[in-house]
């Protein structure tokens, strides 16, 4: 019943429909990488810098690794980094924004200043410094991306909370005796979360891009295969082996577009005008 309605909404929205299909492809690629990858991405073969052919569909890199297999395994890295970082950013942003918007006053002042500081900061360079100082493990990269990109979510949630706290049902919950904390988590956040969901989905794309950029600069986790890393390795072969950078780059573009489409689609579906439709899904 609920699933049917969700499917109906996805079908009616082109962005969501296309985005979801692309997401399914991505997930399958990441999940089934060991099954469908034609070669082991870590094995260095003697076929180095081989152009795409029937054996190596997307060619090999300078160390003789199969690009297609690397891209499939790299999808795992990208998705894990993207989701974890976006989730961290989403949770921090929602909590801080919710507190600021609902409680107001001094709490709002402090959090508001934090938001301003993080907005001014050149985030990417901050990430660079942190990764350079504390090492470039995948965990570090995810956490630091999450910790620096929550600002947008916080601003959205703050605005939502500020408008929601004027609504009668919040006053009614107060007068019935619910504590302010309970109201924040039970009424304010669940009712104001929709734009954050859409924004976080786009945040996944941003995090994947950031991770790729870090890897491209040589600050990625050297122990995992990632798309940025493939491009970095392929950079020196750009003239003789265009396929290394191009296919990994296409994979990044594909993923980013996927999450932007879903984010945009969600934005449209969950916007106030169509809120009733969204409510039915949740209801």
């Amino acid at each position: 019943m609920r699933l049917n309605k969700t499917l109906k909404i996805i079908k009616e929205n082109t962005q969501l429909k296309v985005g979801c299909m692309m997401l399914v492809i991505l997930f399958l690629a990441a999940l089934l990488a060991p099954v469908i990858a034609p070669h082991n991405p870590n094995i260095l073969s003697d076929d180095m810098v081989v152009a795409p052919n029937m054996k190596y569909w997307l060619g090999t890199d300078g160390l003789g690794r199969d690009i297609l297999s690397m891209i499939l395994y790299g999808a795992r890295t990208s998705l894990v980094v993207g989701f974890t970082a976006a989730m961290i950013a989403g949770i921090i942003g929602t909590l801080l924004g919710g507190f600021a918007g609902y409680f107001g006053g001094r709490i709002d002042g402090v959090i508001g200043e934090m938001i301003n500081i993080f907005m001014m900061m050149p985030t990417f360079f901050l990430i660079l410094i942190v990764v350079a100082l504390f090492g470039s493990g995948l965990f570090n990269v995810m956490v630091v991306i999450g910790l620096t990109t929550w600002v947008g979510n916080a601003k959205l949630m703050r605005a939502q909370a500020m408008s929601l706290r004027q609504r009668t049902f919040i006053k009614s919950a107060e007068s019935i005796g619910e504590s302010r904390m309970a109201i924040l988590f039970k009424h304010i956040i669940p009712n104001g979360i929709f734009p954050i969901i859409a924004n976080t989905t786009m945040g996944v794309a941003g995090a994947i891009l950031t991770e790729s950029s870090l890897a491209f600069l040589g600050l990625g986790d050297p122990n995992v295969i990632s798309w940025g890393q493939i491009i970095q390795n392929g950079k020196s072969y750009l003239v003789d082996g265009w396929w290394m950078c191009v296919f990994a780059g296409l994979a990044i573009i594909f993923t980013v577009i996927t999450f932007y489409l879903i984010g945009d689609g969600l934005n449209r579906v969950l916007s106030p005008k169509l809120r009733n439709l969204g409510k039915e899904v949740r209801g």
Binding site: R167, T168, F169, K171, S172, A173, S175, G177, G283
Partner: protein, 336 residues
């Protein structure tokens, strides 16, 4: 009514000179061209009254006279700037600090907009069960469910089971307002503030809702503060009426007395402008010039003097006290 008064114990609700001032963020331009920074808006400016058990007090006045703010102060959705509210002789401030839930049980509010009173994501069942759970009424959810069904059926929401699974947006305003009243009454409050409870409802069901509110209040001997701008409804439901103008009570007394024999010039104008259903009845409304001013930068004298048809020069000089005229009648006018 009078026999309840004569029991004469501690009143359920005693309001002593409460004020609620808001500071304006923007600069305020006064009528005579001065610019005020951080102007104070005197939304409620010194209101005092007492309310006995089971009594119904109607509060009437124009939009912006502070009656809704007064309501919110009474149920402590906002803290007053100064003054105190005593509930059965105890300061509301202490009560809420000591035991918030207990205080919330004693004072309840019925809101103007029933369509927005409940979280749109919650079913009616969850709304009720959550409230009961919060106040530790009922042992378990099946018992609570039984209580809710019984209550729903008692106010004509039949079959009750069919309402439990529904969501607020699937119900009509009248049904929602019944549920709102029911939920508040379930906590057995001693004071209920109803802030224009029927103004957003269809005319055809207003009387039903008012009657339900009145009857449930009488049943539990609950005092009611009925805030409205509809004079005839207020007269119908209230024992006493307080008329507010610019954050102050200008006249208070027994409902019929105030409605049929208004003394304060503002009340006179208000009552005379109230439409009568009888076309033959004598009807010559008093016209008041201008609009009620914003309660910023209040005049030194009587707040109503600039619009008052009876105003004399001395009215603008000295402030007016709410004078006791006996038999529970209070009027704030030097001309009476």
């Amino acid at each position: 009514m009078s026999e309840e008064k004569s029991k004469g114990k501690v009143p359920v609700l005693e309001v002593i000179d409460i004020k609620r001032h808001y500071t304006q963020r923007k600069k305020h331009l006064t009528a005579d061209g001065r610019v005020l920074k951080h102007a104070k808006i005197h939304s409620v400016d010194g209101v005092s009254f007492t309310l006995n058990a089971g009594e119904v007090l109607g509060v009437i006045g124009e939009s912006g006279c502070g009656k809704s703010t007064l309501g919110r102060l009474l149920v402590r959705l906002e803290a007053p700037t100064s003054g105190s509210i005593l509930i059965a002789g105890h300061s509301a401030e202490d009560l809420i600090r000591k035991d918030r839930l207990n205080f919330r049980r004693t004072t309840q509010m019925i809101f103007q907009n029933p369509f927005d009173t409940f979280d749109p994501r919650f079913s009616i069942e969850k709304i009720f069960i959550d409230t009961l759970k919060l106040h530790k009424i009922g042992e378990n959810n099946s018992e609570r469910r039984k209580i809710v069904i019984e209550k729903l059926e008692s106010v004509g929401l039949i079959p009750a089971e069919s309402f439990l699974d529904r969501f607020p947006h699937e119900l009509s305003g009248g049904q929602l307002q019944r549920i709102s009243i029911l939920r508040s009454m379930m906590l057995e409050p001693s004071v209920v503030v109803a802030d224009e409870p029927v103004s957003m409802l269809d005319v055809s069901i207003r009387a039903d809702i008012i009657n339900m509110l009145y009857n449930t209040a009488k049943e539990h001997n609950t005092s009611l503060v009925f805030i409205s701008h509809d004079i005839s409804t207020t007269r119908y439901i209230s024992d006493r009426i307080a008329v507010m103008y610019l954050g102050r009570i200008v006249e208070m007394g027994a409902a019929d007395e105030v409605a049929t024999n208004p003394q304060h010039p503002y009340t006179k104008a208000l009552i005379s402008n109230c439409a009568s259903i009888d076309p033959r009845s004598k009807h010559n409304p008093v016209k008041l010039p201008g609009e009620p001013p914003t309660p910023v930068d209040m005049p030194a004298g009587c707040a109503f003097a600039p619009r008052c048809p009876m105003a004399a020069p001395e009215c603008c000089k000295t402030g007016q006290e709410l004078r006791d005229f006996g038999a529970g009648r209070f009027i704030r006018c030097m001309k009476v």
